[in-house]
Amino acid sequence: MLSRRTLIGAISALGLLAASPAAQAEEMFIPLISKGFQHQFWQAVKAGADQAAEEFGVKVTFEGPDNETMVDKQIDMLAAALANKPSAIGFAALDSQAAIPLLKQAQEAGIPVVAFDSGVDSDIPVTTATTDNLAAAGLAADKMAEMIGGSGKVAVVAHDQTSRTGIDRRDGFLNQMKEKYPNIEVVSVQYGDGDQLKSTEVAKAIITANPDLKGIFGTNEGSAIGVVNAVRETGTEGLVVIGYDSGTAQKEAIMDGTMAGAITQNPVGIGYETVKAAVAATKGEDLPKVIDTGFYWYDKSNMDDPKIAAVLYD
């Protein structure tokens, strides 16, 4: 009796589920496998993908593991996506190596793969939709130069020296300073692993060592918040702090003036361009190796601008 009741319950629940979403029409189907799902940044990427799906009349799904350590869960998601015989796939690899066998399978089946965000370290993807971190960090350098009056000492607190984003953001800032602002000296580049506490210690050390420092650039959310903490803890005044990405703490620091402003990526644009590129790839169109999804400078003055507010997350 019991088993019958349970079974009937299970069947009806699944029946309901099966009835709604399984519209297996001939419309183009493009699953996106991202590096995360719950984080506001990824929800913004999803929003952009949905927007493009509506515009191009394709069906898009968006999935990602609970956190960025779950490499094997992401592989399972990719496997399930491939089973559905998609027209194309969007993929942001947590670990490129682990995904290679499945990506090869996609390639053999003639399913184009569009990499997004940090991309996939392989030549299988037809293109990569990502932020041009070099250019974005260059903009941070321009803003820094403008605010400190074109001369003086500045420093960088970077998140790491091995990842693509870490290298590009650091070099983008350093190169721009060297080429355009000969009177500005970058006295120190140090790494805090994107960890708020570590970055705080690193920034405090830099501030203590350079009393005449005019500005610090933090290359990601954790680094930037670390710099803000350091400024608050040491009671330093007049230091120009420039951050990267958003998040509640960073937005508050900008509102109360501790931080001058920050660079934000355009996660909505990443989602949108990924789907757009995937549609183009299925039609056999030529795509550039990298699609720049754009970035913005934001500060107290334009944070409420709808265009900016849409890409900032809490």
Partner: protein
């Protein structure tokens, strides 16, 4: 000593056959229903490649769940299986990649590391009388931390060990029957399950595992060194977790040091869906295997149906509650 066992054993066995079999049947029926529903709902679900993807997704969780079953039957719990798996993978990475040792030594390292960790948990529980929940919670954190420390928080790759990725990704079955390329990881899961099942039903260790879970006090009063047997069960479970560590490292061709948290809950869910009682004394490996398959089929099926991810999580939760509710109702009846 043997008298007590004989005294508790018949009651034990009877309960196992009537209720255990019933729950297994229920679980198995749910699995079949799920397969049928998903097959009807999506033409892409029932294909060889997708079935293999499901088995592949079951392999690691299945092995962890087998280990968790042993511990849960003793009336204990092991929250450290996820991070222990990671720790054994990292240690394998140290031996194979950092020290450049040959492959078989890596395999031994994984299993020995797991067994040692399990032995430690067992010692905390049996000798220091720390409740299993707390002891293994501590172990979970210790091993998570050690994995990060030893690896320097970076993945360790196995590119220098040819053949390592074949442990999980290769297919011996596929070489014999090309139409059925079932990955070795799945084969290993089944071998582990059969071995564990044998230990549970045909050895002294197995009998004490059940006895500890149904009435530890009675077993101790009859002169059995319960501490020793408990430590043995945790060590055996740890060794099995080590095999899980090998499987995941081989599948990802890397030891990912940050991974592992949350895997213990999935393993425990598989055990419970499979009809093993969290209060101990009752459970089967076959049930656990079916439980792990249900979880994997459910996750894969909902994905193939393109159900929104938020809802996938909700449905998985509902299924777990239904399974445990069924277990409760049945036990009230017995």
């Amino acid at each position: 000593m043997s008298q007590t066992i004989e005294a508790t054993q018949p009651r034990q066995k009877k309960a196992l056959i009537s209720s255990g079999a019933q729950q297994r049947l229920l679980a198995f029926a749910s699995l079949i229903v799920l397969l049928i529903v998903f097959s009807i709902a999506s033409p892409n679900f029932m294909q060889t490649s997708n079935m293999i993807a499901i088995l592949q997704a079951t392999s690691v969780n299945g092995v962890l769940a087998v280990a968790a079953t042993l511990v849960i039957i003793t009336g204990g719990i092991d929250l450290s299986v996820g991070t222990m798996m990671t720790f054994t993978a990292v240690m394998t990475g140290v031996v194979l990649t950092y020290l450049g040792m040959p492959l078989p030594l890596g395999v031994v390292t994984a299993i020995a590391t797991g067994a040692f960790c399990g032995f430690c948990s067992g010692t905390f529980i049996a000798k220091m009388k720390i409740p299993p929940f707390i002891a293994t919670l501590g172990m979970m954190l210790i091993l998570k931390g050690l994995s990060l420390v030893i690896s320097g928080t970076r993945p360790i790759y196995f590119n220098d060990t040819p053949g390592f990725d074949l442990i999980s990704r290769g297919s011996l079955i596929g070489e014999i029957i090309p139409a059925l390329p079932i990955p070795n990881g799945v084969l290993i899961l089944f071998i582990v399950a059969i071995a564990a099942s044998y230990v549970l039903s045909n050895t002294v260790l197995g009998r004490y595992t059940f006895a500890l879970g149904s009435n530890e006090e009675a077993v101790r009063l009859s002169g059995v060194n319960t501490d020793r047997w408990k430590m043995a069960v945790y060590a055996l479970a740890g060794g099995i977790v080590g095999i899980g560590g090998l499987l995941i490292a081989s599948r990802l061709n890397s030891a990912q040091p940050a991974l592992g948290l949350g895997y213990e809950l999935e393993a425990i869910a598989a055990v419970v869906i499979g009809g093993t009682s969290l209060s101990g004394g009752r459970g089967t490996i076959l049930g656990t295997l079916i439980g792990a398959l249900i979880m994997a089929v459910l996750t894969n099926g909902l994905r193939v149906l393109s159900v929104a991810q938020e809802w996938q999580t909700v449905v998985t939760g509902v299924i777990i509650i239904l399974a445990v509710y069924a277990d409760m109702l049945r036990r009230r009846k017995v």
